[in-house]
């Protein structure tokens, strides 16, 4: 039990990640896949941010009032990752719009059937 409590942050991260990944792999609706993809990516951010947190620390903005700061490095990385994520989602949505115009549907299976013939 203590094992679980000590790393509760990782457990939550993993559950979220798996949820997101499941949506991407199992679902056929292209918009929903993209939402799942963004959930999957967002949960990875927690994996980076958790190890950087120092209990009793504060946000990494230097000021005379504080001594201990949380690790700034993951914040920088995750900022970049968020931006990459949103660019990907935007491009994905543009593709969905075009697919919808070309095929009249955004269901994976239906598109697949149309491509067969």
């Amino acid at each position: 039990m203590s094992l679980i409590l000590a790393s509760i942050n990782y457990w939550v991260t993993i559950i979220l990640m798996i949820g997101g990944l499941y949506i991407v792999v199992a679902h056929g609706n292209m918009v929903k896949k993209l939402v799942g993809l963004s959930i999957f990516q967002t949960s990875v951010y927690l994996l980076f941010l958790s190890p950087g947190k120092i209990l009793g620390g504060t946000a990494p903005i230097i000021s005379e009032k504080f001594e201990v700061y949380s690790n700034p490095l993951p914040h920088v990385l995750i900022l970049t990752a968020i931006v990459v994520g949103v660019a990907t989602i935007a491009l994905g949505m543009a593709l969905v719009v075009r697919i919808n115009e070309a095929y009249g549907t955004i269901e994976d299976d239906e598109v697949h059937e149309m491509e067969q013939d």
């Binding site: 949820g19 929903k32 967002t42 946000a59 700034p72 660019a87 491009l91 719009v97």
Partner: protein, 175 residues
């Protein structure tokens, strides 16, 4: 957050899915504040909860908003998720404990930034200093990613309009 994700999995109405996705991002931003990542939280709230949701809604204005039921058995996806989850649990269980100062991540590299950023760059916000100077090249890459994504969307959405109009005027362009 877990509830939001389960909601997204179960709901077939895409409006609900998108709104839950937005709520999820917003909750995520709250957690990030709790983890002292104020800069990241601000971005996540603006981008994840704001921008992405608006864009997804814009897309929903153009497409069908109900998801068709699953046709395949979800066995293989479940297997994939199970394997990934197992690897993750295996990997994360013996990571250094949460919130301590003596972990490798908080001992190596990062203390240098905390100690020297004001002295070397004159910016009290360490995140800004690392972002724009120490790892400025990553940020150039990030800007380029945005640039790439933007032009990619423009290619897909604003140009083919002309071609499509051209196509509709050509009678024989059935290919």
């Amino acid at each position: 957050m877990v509830a939001a994700v389960i909601g997204v999995i179960r709901s077939r109405n895409l409006f609900v899915v998108v709104m839950l996705g937005g709520i999820y991002s917003f909750l995520m931003a709250t957690v990030m504040v709790a983890l002292d990542a104020v800069d990241v939280a601000m971005t996540e709230a603006a981008v994840g909860a704001g921008m992405s949701t608006v864009l997804l809604l814009a897309v929903l204005g153009l497409v069908k908003t109900r998801e068709a039921p699953l046709r395949h058995s979800p066995f293989i996806p479940l297997l994939v998720c199970f394997l990934t989850g197992a690897a993750l649990i295996y990997g994360t269980l013996s990571l250094p404990p949460f919130g301590r100062q003596d972990t490798p991540t908080n001992q190596h590299v990062a203390p240098y930034y905390i100690k020297n950023s004001v002295k070397e760059t004159g910016s009290p916000n360490i995140v800004t200093a690392v972002l724009a100077s120490y790892r400025g090249y990553d940020t150039l890459g990030e800007t380029t990613v945005i640039f790439t994504g933007g032009i990619g969307v423009l290619i897909l959405l604003s140009t083919s309009r002309r071609r499509r109009l051209k196509q509709s005027s050509d009678e024989d362009s059935s290919t």
